[in-house]
């Protein structure tokens, strides 16, 4: 990395180091540039997957064939799921905003392993490229759904092997990013930043990173076993060879249920950042929110069996997993109540990020509560593998992670690019998105309850009204999303300059220029209090000017007190 003083005279966007132009991006080890490279790649995949989703809805506009054949429909919903889950929802917030914001929030100049950080981007791109190549090679795009359930995934003539290989490589990218964040949080916090002075976004990422490191290898091994089954017929999962297909489901969901928390925990961390900023008060129940992140991560490991209630699992196991599933509602409830309590008696300033957060709380609560319907053994049997599950999943994932991704884009946009967007347009876009979202997905609950199975190409005529309503909702939702990104793109090109702290935020990223300089800080700051204190500063940004030395040596009583 470059000389500190020189590097900090210009922003990270303008800085010209050893490599210029495109090489300055592709070979960068700066966490902020890597975050932006992830952002660009992830946005492309998001729009591809969104287009596939819209095509699916268009196909479902009428019974029978509308715009595509059944085999194409199978591939389209598989691709929609694989791209959205593995290329957007899982990596988006940690890889983009975790990379960009985490080191600054901790008072560090970069992540612990900057080169490894760049390596994860290349792994991500390799996995993504393979996923795309798999569409056009072998027998064509995989048609198994994103879950790759055996025995169908073993026997499918489509290109399942390459798609699973892509997911395997993407998993490595996730593991290494998680490891990097864990080490960064343990080793690079600024002096005085104790665990309970750490911003809650960092807590969310910390819990997420542990899941990434501990759960992802399980899916890696499982996907390799699928490839071995396809090539060598080893008989671990294939019932024809004495294997156990339910064992595959166990292994798949041991990763994929915690993956749901990889998706949502960083988003919850950002809710805890945005609320105190726009309520102008300290967050209610800081420690409870921090610990509940770890609680969700821990219990989230142990509930995977609720995806398998009708798969032939033992009754004992079903009762245990149902009970554990209900337990996960406790730490989630702790968060929701603390967020609402934070708004109580706050000096609330309504702004686009806060609108998104309020929409998140409303929509995620619906998603969470319908999860209890699926977690209860009796009701699950009625709605399992129906549109009810699809609705629940989209309410928690898109309504949870997706909306918070949009909120975060608006919240940290001025910091990342040094530009401001049109607030009025942002609020209108948010409103359109929320209306479109509910119109698209709420009918799924009703359709599922009525018995419409998921992933079916055709349906009975009595379901058509709800399908039409849902398809129209998809158009409104896409319109809102395009409007929102158009506003941000316009701001990027022609928006007015943003100040250092446009929202009155209290965490460290709001103490550095917008956009930040290459090495973030002239000096490593000292932290003297909690992250959401509004009435006084809890950071000493230039310790040397106050003659405080943090790199060892004797300290005066004042210095000790400051630390």
């Amino acid at each position: 990395m470059a000389n500190g003083s020189l590097a900090n005279e210009v922003s990270y966007l303008e800085y010209q180091g050893k490599h210029k132009g495109i090489a300055g991006w592709l070979l960068t080890v700066d966490h902020k540039r890597i975050g932006l490279m992830y952002l660009m790649a992830i946005m492309v995949f998001f729009f591809v997957a969104m287009t596939l989703g819209v095509l699916m809805r268009l196909e479902m506009l009428s019974p029978g064939q509308t715009i595509m054949k059944p085999q194409t429909y199978n591939s389209v919903f598989t691709l929609h799921g694989v791209i959205m889950v593995f290329l957007f929802i899982i990596p988006a917030i940690p890889a983009v905003f975790g990379n960009f914001i985490l080191p600054i929030q901790l008072g560090a100049k970069d992540v612990a392993f900057p080169r490894l950080n760049l390596f994860t981007w290349y792994l991500y791109m390799t996995g993504a490229t393979l996923a795309i190549v798999s569409l056009f090679t072998g027998g064509g795009a995989a048609d198994t759904g994103w879950t790759f359930y055996v025995p169908y995934s073993i026997r499918s003539a489509q290109n399942v092997t390459m798609t699973t290989l892509a997911a395997f490589i993407l998993g490595f990218s996730t593991i290494v990013t998680g490891l990097n964040f864990i080490v960064t949080i343990h080793r690079l916090r600024a002096p005085g930043m104790t665990w309970f002075r750490m911003p809650l976004f960092a807590w969310g990422l910390y819990a997420t990173s542990w899941i990434q490191v501990l759960a992802t290898p399980v899916i890696g091994i499982t996907l390799v076993l699928i490839m071995l089954e396809r090539f060598l017929g080893i008989g671990v999962f294939d019932p024809a060879l004495g294997g156990d297909p339910i064992l595959y489901q166990h292994l798949f969901w041991i990763y994929s249920h915690p993956a749901v928390y990889i998706m949502i925990l960083p988003a919850m961390g950002i809710v805890s950042e945005i609320l105190p900023t726009f309520a102008r008060k300290d967050i209610f129940g800081y420690k409870q929110i921090a610990i509940s992140s770890l609680g969700i991560a821990l219990i989230g490991y142990l509930v995977w069996g609720h995806h398998m209630f009708v798969s032939g699992m033992s009754d004992t196991s079903r009762i245990i997993f149902s009970l554990l599933t209900f337990l996960v509602a406790i730490p989630t409830g702790v968060k929701i109540f603390n967020w609402v309590a934070t708004l109580y008696k706050g000096s609330i300033k309504f702004s686009a990020p806060l609108y998104y957060v309020l929409a998140f709380i409303f929509i995620f609560s619906i998603g969470g509560l319908t999860g209890l319907v699926l977690g209860a053994l009796a009701t699950d049997i009625h709605v399992t593998d129906t549109y009810f599950v699809v609705a629940h999943f989209h309410y928690v994932m898109f309504g949870g992670m997706g909306l918070m991704f949009f909120a975060t884009m608006h919240y940290w946009f001025p910091k990342m690019f040094g530009k401001m967007y049109n607030e009025k347009v942002a609020v209108i876009a948010c409103t359109v998105i929320v209306i479109g979202f509910n119109m698209l997905y709420f009918p799924f609950f009703i359709l599922g309850y009525m018995g419409m199975p998921r992933r079916y190409y055709d349906y009975l005529p009595q379901f058509q009204g709800w399908h039409v309503l849902s398809t129209v909702g998809s158009w409104i939702l896409v319109g809102g999303i395009v409007f929102m990104f158009g506003n941000l793109l316009y701001a990027l090109l022609k928006g007015p300059k943003a100040s250092m702290n446009p929202w009155g935020g209290t965490t460290l990223e709001w103490k550095v220029p917008s956009p930040p300089p290459l090495e973030n800080f002239d000096e490593i700051p000292i932290v003297t209090g909690g992250p959401y204190v509004h009435d006084k500063s809890t950071y000493i940004m230039h310790p040397s000017r106050e003659k405080i030395h943090t790199n060892g040596g004797a300290k005066s009583a004042k210095e000790e007190a400051a630390l």
Binding site: G4, K109, H250, G305, S314, D315, T316, S317
Partner: protein
């Protein structure tokens, strides 16, 4: 590399040097003994697989695998010389793995 990063690196390097000079001098004899132990345990696993012990076969195989993992982690991956926090992390991972195992077997054993 900045001054701050350098200070972190220097501290880490000093720690590494100290670890190398004080703790990591392990003779080839130890490694060969551990390797022979691993080979012996693998042979036992293969032998047990051929004997009909019912559900005990799997439990025996898993126990032997656990012992082998501990040997590799402790000696070859130098867990023996690491500080307490790393040992705690490894222990947490093992406990979570054990939880995966027990919960999966709550299905397999009662089906």
């Amino acid at each position: 590399m900045s001054e701050y990063s350098e200070s972190v690196n220097t501290e880490a390097e000093a720690h590494l040097t100290e670890a190398h000079t004080h703790g990591h001098l392990v003779g080839y004899g130890t490694y060969i003994m551990v390797w022979l132990g691993l080979v012996a345990l693998t042979s036992i696993t293969v032998t047990i697989a051929g004997i009909h012990l019912g559900s005990l076969t799997l439990i025996a195989a898993m126990l032997i695998a656990a012992v082998k993992t501990s040997l590799v982690g402790y000696h070859f991956m130098h867990l023996k010389f690491d500080n307490m926090i790393i040992k705690v992390f490894v222990l947490v991972c093992l406990v979570i793995f054990l939880a995966f195992w027990i919960l999966t077997f709550s299905d397999l054993s009662f089906r």
